[in-house]
Symmetry: C2
Subunit: 264 residues, 2 copies
């Protein structure tokens, strides 16, 4: 079983990292659409088109299971992908939402993500369906992706911007915060500090890798731990800068290769 | 003569605005590649491909003259476009560089732009060719585009980031600063304040519209002032947010229509 993971760019490497750590015995192919990144402020139709093309590229390269490591794509394209392609499609939203709904002492949940993810209302709908008693407050934070991509992880400007974005959630006294964008785990220390220590911060990368682990276990797909799968990393555009960022997110030097989708 | 203008997104509307103000009697078509914006951190090859596709789209729509209103595209794709297409190609770099070289009391020039523009060294090369006595200092400012696109024009965080980016240029005591990105004129008041009042700040949108005016005059193309040309605005992706930003940059309500390039 070869796991295919795609993202709008390099942020999804946080998900790839979590999956490789959880299921190291499987082969993994990653595709980052760096030629058209970011997706977060683009329209529903455009993001669906890109998600289909990325899936087709991964299938061509041998993927037998797809993980959408991009909240924006997951928020608008999941249904289309499941109808169109005959292989398991995982996404980063349901695992995080159902994890949060399982916390009995959770009553006020904050969600931060891109404009497209927040406007889709997917997280709010999923959580409210399971737990209508939970109040959900969602805030788009479009500048966090460029800040992470610039490597401005611990700069005072980044801390100020995080504080400004989190302010409305702090006022609402949330008890749980979902990082609904694969770039945000990189800012988790600042986010945790600004939102307060007593707030539980949920990283969708860890939620989806755990869901994948359970799926593999239920289907008797867990291999012997002494086997080690291969990892391949493709991007639709490459620069020395992208290589540097990829390495810092994946926490290991990784060889990026260029691959093109139907229209990238 | 129909003027075709393209940009990676909506920032080039500052150039379109300046051209419409200077040559209101001509028809103008604008294309913003919002489905693949931004170009500034992408590779040379990818940006050249996008620039060719944008030019072909404008030609199909009747453009008889092309203005690349995107510094990133201009910095890497000008030669390719001039070889490939048989119509006048204008860009935003040469006019600003030659304007600066004409200032006899200029000796220390700062340039701010995207990573791709700065890495191309085009401004430095052009200025140094005319005026080897001028010292040029170039600084990439990749976060300014997302800040403008978020409408964070006068926020304290934006002021801090502008100050941080301009610091190395302030230390060098520049006398002239080129805004080598079409988004930056929107931040001109903050930039002027942070770099200091005695520094001359050059907006490439005004430089290119003036060059176009001179070209039209030399070629006896200036029409009667009582005629008024049409304006059309195309984008490769549309959202309500893009419409809002377009309006705020162009300073007028403008109808955006969707158009696709060969691969967008």
């Amino acid at each position: 079983m070869k796991i295919g993971i795609f993202d709008s760019g390099l942020g999804g490497l946080t998900v790839a990292r979590a999956i490789v750590d959880t299921l190291p015995e499987y082969d993994m192919i990653y595709f980052g659409d760096t030629a058209r990144t970011p997706y977060g402020s683009k329209s529903r139709e455009t993001v669906i088109q890109y998600a289909c093309e990325n899936t087709e590229l991964l299938i061509k390269k041998g993927a037998e299971l797809i993980v959408m490591a991009c909240n924006t794509a997951a928020s608008v394209a999941t249904e289309v992908l499941r109808q169109k392609y005959d292989l398991p499609i995982f996404e980063v939203i349901t695992p995080a939402a159902s994890l949060v709904a399982s916390f009995q002492n959770t009553h006020r949940v904050g969600i931060i993500g891109t404009r497209a993810t927040i406007n889709s209302n997917v997280y709010t709908d999923k959580i409210s369906k399971d737990r209508p008693d939970i109040q959900v407050y969602a805030v788009p934070c479009p500048l966090l992706v460029p800040l992470v991509e610039e490597g401005w992880i611990d700069k005072p400007e980044t801390r100020m911007i995080v504080k400004k974005y989190l302010h409305p959630l702090k006022v609402r006294q949330i008890d749980t915060l979902i990082l609904a964008c694969t770039h945000y785990p990189i800012l988790k220390p600042i986010i945790q500090k600004k939102i307060g220590r007593r707030v539980r911060v949920i990283d969708s990368a860890l939620a989806v890798s755990h869901q994948l682990f359970l799926y593999f276990k239920e289907n008797d797909l867990i291999l012997k731990k002494d086997q080690k799968g291969s990892c391949q990393f493709y991007v639709s555009d490459i620069t020395p800068y992208f290589e540097k960022i990829a390495q810092s997110i994946f926490k290991r030097k990784i060889p990026l290769e260029v691959a093109s989708t139907a229209s990238s």
